[in-house]
Each structure stands twice: as structure tokens, then as C-alpha cells.
Amino acid sequence: MDVLLFAFLVATAVWGVSRLRDLFAATMMLSLFSLLSAGLFMVMDAVDVAFTEASVGAGISTVLLLSTLSLTHRREKRRERRLDPAALVLVFAVGALLLWGSQDMPAYGDPQAPVHTYMVPRFLEQSGEEVGPPNIVTSVLASYRGYDTFGEATVVFTAAVGALLLLTGLRRRGEADSREPGGDEQGVRMRGNVILRVAIRPMIPFILMFALYVQFHGDYGPGGGFQAGVIFAAGVILAALIWGLHRVREVFTPRALELLIAGGILLYGSVGVVAMVRGGNFLDYDTLAHDPVHGQHLGILLVELGVGITVASVMIALFLLFAGRGRRSPSAVESG
């Protein structure tokens, strides 16, 4: 099983992404690569990771790459030399070193490996009573390692702020007029694809509902704020493809998105501060309710909600930003 998956992974990576000159085809290969990786994670028991990878790698990342290609170039320039000898030598040297280093690694699946010691037995044995949720990944993510997740959510926030800054404003003077207005209507909306439109339309409410299920059922099964946010955004992106960007912008105005992106992080941080005010440590949910386990439940729910809100609004904002950007005037594009 692993062998087959890895064979396909290497094929899509080596042939698809590194050799193909058509960037559109390479994007499709990368999407396939992500889907195969999700399968691999599933085989290795990482259901939450597989879930995330399937929605992020095969979904959002493909959409963003395609939007980028529509704004830039679809093909890589033809080169005389297709292989770079210096890079090849370096890559093989580093690869050989890593192979040598891998000799000392614990065998695959070894239960005695050092990674499974220290805190992990406690997570596996105590999290049911200490924190509550059957899904240990959720307990570790939102409670035991709550600081870490707060940091990660902040990185998502910061990266989104960076992208928003780069693609809104910061335009050379006098250049604003050279963009074709209403580029989104011609470029993005699937006018011709009747079958796709008819087939996708009834799916959208179910996708949004499923996102909410993943959000609030993440304590019990695979799922949580990160996955739910991405799935929700995928539903909204599909809606934008069918009804046009302007319809989605009516609901998710730039102002609302900015507030939501910051609001999710604020909710996460506030839970930590409230825990402090009530006499505990930062992000120590035990103090949030009369009973520690109830407190943990409430804390995890709110923190995951904060993550979900930020991730969903970041993904929607990025999509609207990339897809809604008008192309530069044709004369400027020709020169590439």
C-alpha cells in the first residue's frame, strides 16, 4: 500500500512538477500529489492530517495557484538546458548525506522509538479524564499545546495580513486605471459549464453544513477549527465560481473579512485572558467553569471556534484577493 502510494507520489513530484513546463498541468499534478499524500497520512493513522491535507492541498492551494496563473503566465519559458548539473550534484550530495543519516532512525512503526516517550503516554492515558474529548489530537492541539496552536493561528493571521498588504494598495501611481474592470466576471465565473454549475449548486449548502459539523464534532471524531475553516472557505469559493465574485463580496465585504480574521485570533487570546482573570494560567481552561472538565470543554470549543473563524476568513479573503484582481493591460502582459 505504502509502496504504491509512494511510487505515485514520486512520479507526480518528479515528472509532474519538476519536469512539466506547462504550469497549469504542473498545478494539477501538485493537486494530485496532495490527494495522494492525504491517502498516505490516512494509512499512517493520521486522520486529522489527512483531512487537512485533502482540503488544503487538493482544494484551496490549487485554486490559489490557478488564480496566480491566470494573473501571470501559464507556461515556463523554454530553456536550452533542461537539467542544471550544479543543482543535481548538490541535490545528490545532500540526498546521500540524508540517506546515511537515516541509518540511525528507528524502524517504521517501532513502538519503542524515542518520539513515543516523555509526554506522549500521558496524553494517551490521561487525556480522556483530564481534558475529555475522545479525539486525542483535539485535546493536545487545543489544550495541552494551546500556546503552540495560538502561535500557529497568529502565523496564519500574519501571512494573510502580508498578502493583503501586497495585493491591495501599494500600486504605482497612475497604474490603477490600466486594470480591466470587472475582470472577475469574465475570468472567474463559470459561464459555459452548465453541467458543473447545476451539479455544484445543490452541494454548496451541504458543504457549509459539513464544515460546521467538522467544527463542532472535532472533539469526538477527526476534525476541528483548521479543517472546518478550510472546508467552509471551499464552499464559499464554489459559490463565488457559480454566482460570481460580486455576490460573495456582498456577504463577505472586505471590512467584514478584516474583522473576522482579527476576531478569531482575538477570541482565542481572550479565552486565555479570561482563564487568567479567573485565577488560572494563560489558556488554562480548568478555571472557566465550576468543574475542570466542563471548563476544558468550553475552552476547547471557543478556541477551536476562534481558529475556525480566522482560517475560514483568511482563505476567503485570499481567494477574493487573487481571483478578483484585474489583469494588467494587455500591452504590459505581452512583454512576458
Binding site: 487537512t52 548538490l90 518520539v115 489530537v137 500557529e152
Partner: protein
């Protein structure tokens, strides 16, 4: 050297593919794809470390005794890393779009040539 290390080898092959794309392909979007492959290989490495032979997904089964669960910690770290990864990839793509709008190309050698030409033109202009 046994079959127990197979996953590591495949991770190394993928990692080196990503590194090669970043080093050798001049197109900026291709470079970002290379970074993505590199990142995925790192994620596979962590998930490989977390697997316990005969184990199952780390979701507690009520009333069951003696169940071997795979290590949840790498899963936690990697699922957040994936979402952080897409956010930073988007930042990279936004930079690529800006570069394209400025230079009309995504090939790094052409961008360098354009910058040199710009600098020389500025110098010639300043000498007048």
C-alpha cells in the same frame, strides 16, 4: 539497513525533488511548487515517526482496553503546519504576482536582467 527505513528513503527522494525544483527551475511559481513538495516531505517524515505498528488513529475507543494508538503529537504539529503552509504559500504567490506586474515575467534571470538594465538607465540618466 532493513525495510523499516523505506519511508525515510522515499521522504528523502521527495525532499530532494523539491530542493532541485527550488534550485534549478528559474520560474518563480515553479519554485513555490518546489517549496510545497519539500514541505510535504517534511510532513510525511513527522507522520512516519508517529506511526505505531498495529496502532490505530488516536481517537479513544470507549470501553476498549489495550488499544495501541499512534502518536498524536506529530499529527497536531503537522496539521497546523499544513494550514500555516498554505498561508505562507499564498504570501509567496502574492509576491510572485507583484513581481510579474512590475517586470512582466516570472523567470528569475529575466528579472535580474531587467533590474540591471534599470540600474544602468538610472545611472546614465544621473550622469547627464
Amino acid at each position: 539497513m532493513g525495510p523499516g527505513l523505506y519511508n525515510y528513503w522515499m521522504v528523502i527522494v521527495l525532499m530532494m525533488t523539491g530542493l532541485y525544483v527550488v534550485l534549478a527551475r528559474p520560474n518563480l511559481v515553479k519554485k513555490i511548487m518546489g517549496v510545497t513538495i519539500f514541505q510535504m516531505s517534511v510532513i510525511m517524515l513527522y507522520i512516519t515517526l508517529g506511526k505505531v505498528a498495529g496502532g490505530t488513529a488516536p481517537i479513544l475507543i470507549e470501553g476498549a482496553e489495550d488499544v495501541a494508538y499512534s502518536n498524536p503529537v506529530p499529527h497536531v504539529l503537522m496539521l497546523t503546519a499544513i494550514v500555516v503552509g498554505i498561508a505562507t504559500t499564498a504570501l509567496g504567490l502574492a509576491l510572485a504576482i507583484r513581481v510579474y506586474e512590475e517586470f512582466g515575467t516570472l523567470e528569475d534571470d529575466e528579472i535580474r536582467d531587467a533590474e540591471i538594465a534599470d540600474a544602468m538607465a538610472a545611472e546614465a540618466g544621473g550622469a547627464d
